[in-house]
């Protein structure tokens, strides 16, 4: 049943046909060019699954092993492709299981549309079987949400959902659809949403703010750029590079900004924040103009706010007006889309090199190399380090892999040491710090970009939070490379216990299962490495595999991640040991 548009010279008349609400949901997805969705069936969403069965040649539904996995897969899909990820679940527990992923997408600005089934509208509010107020529950963690109780409202609600999810500062949207609305028949037409009256996704850029910013940048002696995911979301990688090269400004990134500019770029001075690089943290408190682009001054980046860059004039390029002055007071706020703003400011910027200033970064890097990096990447002691595993993956992937991480020590090490040649190559849970994110996100990323090598790196803790998604890998034949850096500890919490709680290791030691046997139970090729001599060869075997591959690397049990800005300390108080 197709909706035909008859066009004559003057008018276009849409011919509609009666279809069910559930079929309309699937047709809306097709109209939005959705090809893959992640989900889990159940009572209140069954009519939609019945339609998905009919339309399986157009939309590939991926059955994850838990609804949380569906959201993280949709996130991984969105992060590597820049498109909207879609997750679908039933009412009640199906819907509540989506919440962690939705909250993660909200804080990390990931475009995602979640569709949930709901009990029939006459039962709403009656504590019906599998009824939960998912609109109420998801309100604080969604960019927008709504409940649909009539089939005729479905196309408009979904069109709006996709538009809101992807436009402006992206985010997750939830549409809850009652079962009677799924069964009801109505005249279907679909029109993409291009605006919502009360919503202004991209604030207008004031040219005078660009001029003021350019003036500050041109007169700065020690300018410093810090960029975030805004660069990737607005696809402003080339514009950012042009700016830093023209003005000769050292530039550092937040964890979600990683990979926007290749790691090897001479003006890329590394990662900001609690476990970021030494130079960018220390020199944040020495620069005279701090240029923040598409980042939101998270507390893990700023450390103690009262002592954060107080000497510097701050320029903030930002799409979300609510971020301006939220944490750090700005001198000049440039509202708008990062790509457009950077394009507009470039002609106003003078060429410069700031050689002496850049030299400072090099000097501090040398200190960090001696104290931290050398031992992480070229250890001489017994016991594998997480760093040397990442280094080996870099070497063998030539920096072309997409690295999907979970949360904890391995995440910090991976983000510190991974080499990225391509943008959208670092997929991780930044703001929410969701353990269990990595494995399902890697599945979504691999399915969105099958041509890319996708390496999932997890710790033994987070891996077991969504380990059941190995079933999804097996069923979907998703060629994800799964690395677990196993130290038999919840390593990051243990590190804090060691440093700040007098070595009291409360509930951080893990008695782990036979991970290789578990992977093999899902018919996934698996291997375990305990010795340095085996590492390179095992990673080679993994990288050469055309199918999914599981590699457990037993690393030193009590390794710590340094540098570290202790909680509540200033960024310049960063510790190297």
């Amino acid at each position: 049943m197709e909706t035909k548009t008859i066009k004559d010279s003057e008018t276009s008349i849409k011919v509609t046909e009666k279809i069910s609400g559930s079929e309309a949901i699937v047709r809306c997805l097709i109209e939005e060019e959705v090809k893959i969705i992640y989900g889990y069936p159940g009572g209140a969403i069954m009519p939609v699954y019945d339609e998905l069965f009919k339309y399986q040649d157009k939309i590939h539904h991926v059955l994850t092993r838990h609804e949380q996995g569906a959201t993280h897969s949709a996130q991984g899909f969105a992060r590597i492709s820049g498109k909207v990820g879609v997750a679908i679940a039933t009412s009640g527990p199906g819907a509540t299981n989506l919440i962690t992923g939705i909250a993660d997408a909200q804080i990390d600005s990931t475009p995602m549309v979640c569709i949930t089934g709901q009990v029939p509208s006459h039962l709403l509010g009656s504590d019906a079987f599998q009824e939960t107020d998912i609109v109420g529950i998801s309100t604080p963690v969604t960019k927008w949400n709504c409940q649909v109780t009539k089939a005729a409202d479905i196309p408009e609600a979904l069109a709006k959902a996709f538009y809101i999810a992807r436009s402006g500062r992206p985010g997750p949207v939830l549409v809850d659809i009652t079962k009677d609305a799924q069964f009801e028949e109505f005249d279907f037409t679909y029109e993409k949403c291009t605006k919502v009256r009360s919503y202004n996704p991209i604030p207008k850029t004031d040219f005078s703010s660009l001029e003021a910013a350019a003036k500050l940048i041109n007169t700065a002696k020690k300018p410093f750029i810090i960029w975030g995911q805004g660069i990737i979301l607005s696809e402003a990688e080339d514009q950012l590079k042009a700016l830093i090269e023209k003005a000769g400004i050292p530039a550092a990134w937040t964890i979600l900004g990683a990979s926007a500019i290749e790691t090897s770029h001479p003006l890329n001075v590394g990662m900001l924040g609690m476990h970021g690089n030494y130079a960018p943290n220390v020199l944040t408190n020495e620069c005279d103009v701090l240029i923040a682009i598409g980042m939101r001054f998270d507390d893990r980046v700023t450390g103690k706010l009262d002592e954060y860059a107080t000497q510097a004039k701050v320029i903030h390029f930002e799409i979300d007006p609510a971020e301006i002055d939220k944490n750090v007071k700005t001198e000049v706020a440039v509202l708008g889309d990062a790509k457009a703003s950077l394009e507009a400011i470039l002609p106003l910027i003078n060429e410069n090199s700031h050689t002496e200033w850049h030299q400072k970064f090099k000097e501090l890097y040398a200190i960090e190399y001696e104290k931290v990096i050398k031992n992480d990447l070229h250890p001489t002691k017994e016991g594998l380090t997480m760093g040397e595993v990442i280094k080996e993956i870099n070497t063998q992937s030539k920096g072309n892999a997409a690295i999907v991480t979970d949360v904890g020590q391995h995440q910090m090490i991976a983000c510190r040491y991974a080499e990225f040649n391509k943008t959208k190559s670092n997929i991780t849970s930044g703001g929410l710090g969701t353990m269990g994110f990595g494995l399902p996100a890697a599945i979504g990323a691999k399915m969105a970009a099958p041509e890319r090598e996708v390496v999932s790196i997890s710790g033994d803790g987070g891996y077991q939070m969504t380990i059941q998604e190995l079933g999804t890998i097996f069923q979907q034949k998703a060629a994800v490379k799964v690395v677990v850096l196993n130290n038999d500890f919840l390593g990051m919490v243990r590190q804090w216990q060691q440093l700040f709680f007098d070595n009291r290791y409360a509930s951080t030691e893990m008695v782990n299962p036979n991970f290789v046997a578990i992977a093999e139970g899902y018919y996934i090729k698996a291997r375990k490495v305990t010795k340095r001599e085996e590492l390179a060869e095992a990673i080679a075997e993994m990288m050469e595999s055309k199918e999914a591959y599981f590699l457990e690397v037993c690393v030193e049990k009590e390794g710590n991640v340094f540098p570290m800005v202790p909680s509540g300390a200033s960024v310049s108080e960063i510790r190297l040991e």
């Binding site: 604080p140 960019k143 409940q147 605006k195 009256r197 009360s198 609510a322 301006i324 002055d325």
Partner: protein, 176 residues
């Protein structure tokens, strides 16, 4: 900028949608801010609702709250005002035993002097209504308490700003 806590009225112009109240109140809840009073009504523009929210906050924080309210998809615009910049009123209702109206002649004087009005009288009770500033309602409450009040309630603040709000212009600019 003022970092002292003071009373502000927040005006929020919104689409009239189910769930928006939840979305807006959640922003205050997250920061552990108590809403002193809340009123939602139609506004001067057809189809546009207006929230009047009264809170004790610092100016630094209220600016952040305004940003987070405006960020909600169905919010058209949010403003904050100090008392000097608004004309505002609240209303109080007092239910009192009818006998007292005759037994205590003072009550009639209080009603007269406070510019309150009697809304209804029957054999059992009568109801007094008083609009004005909060202090005036509180004072009337104190005066009438002496005689015994059967029921008392006070509305949230409704406020109109001295400055022009330009919501229609804003809506037009969004539509173009």
């Amino acid at each position: 900028m003022n970092t002292k806590t003071r009373l502000y009225t927040i005006s929020v112009y919104t689409e009239n949608n189910i769930g928006l109240l939840n979305r807006i109140s959640a922003i205050f809840q997250r920061r552990h801010i108590n809403i002193e009073s809340l009123n939602i009504s139609p506004s001067e523009i057809e189809g546009v609702a207006k929230f009047s929210i009264v809170v004790y906050m610092t100016e630094v924080n209220i600016k952040k709250i305004i940003g987070q309210i405006e960020k909600q998809i169905e919010v058209i615009k949010a403003y904050y005002h100090s008392d000097e910049n608004t004309i505002y009123q609240i209303s109080g209702l007092f239910k009192i035993k009818s006998d007292l109206l005759f037994e205590e002649p003072q009550i009639q004087n209080i009603i007269k002097e406070s510019n309150a009005r009697i809304v209804t009288v029957n054999t059992n009770f009568f109801v007094i209504e008083k609009s004005g500033k909060k202090d005036e309602i509180v004072k009337l409450h104190e005066q009438l308490s002496v005689f015994g009040i059967m029921q008392y309630t006070r509305s949230g603040r409704v406020a109109i700003t001295k400055d022009e709000m330009k919501i229609s212009t804003l809506l037009e600019s969004y539509n173009n």
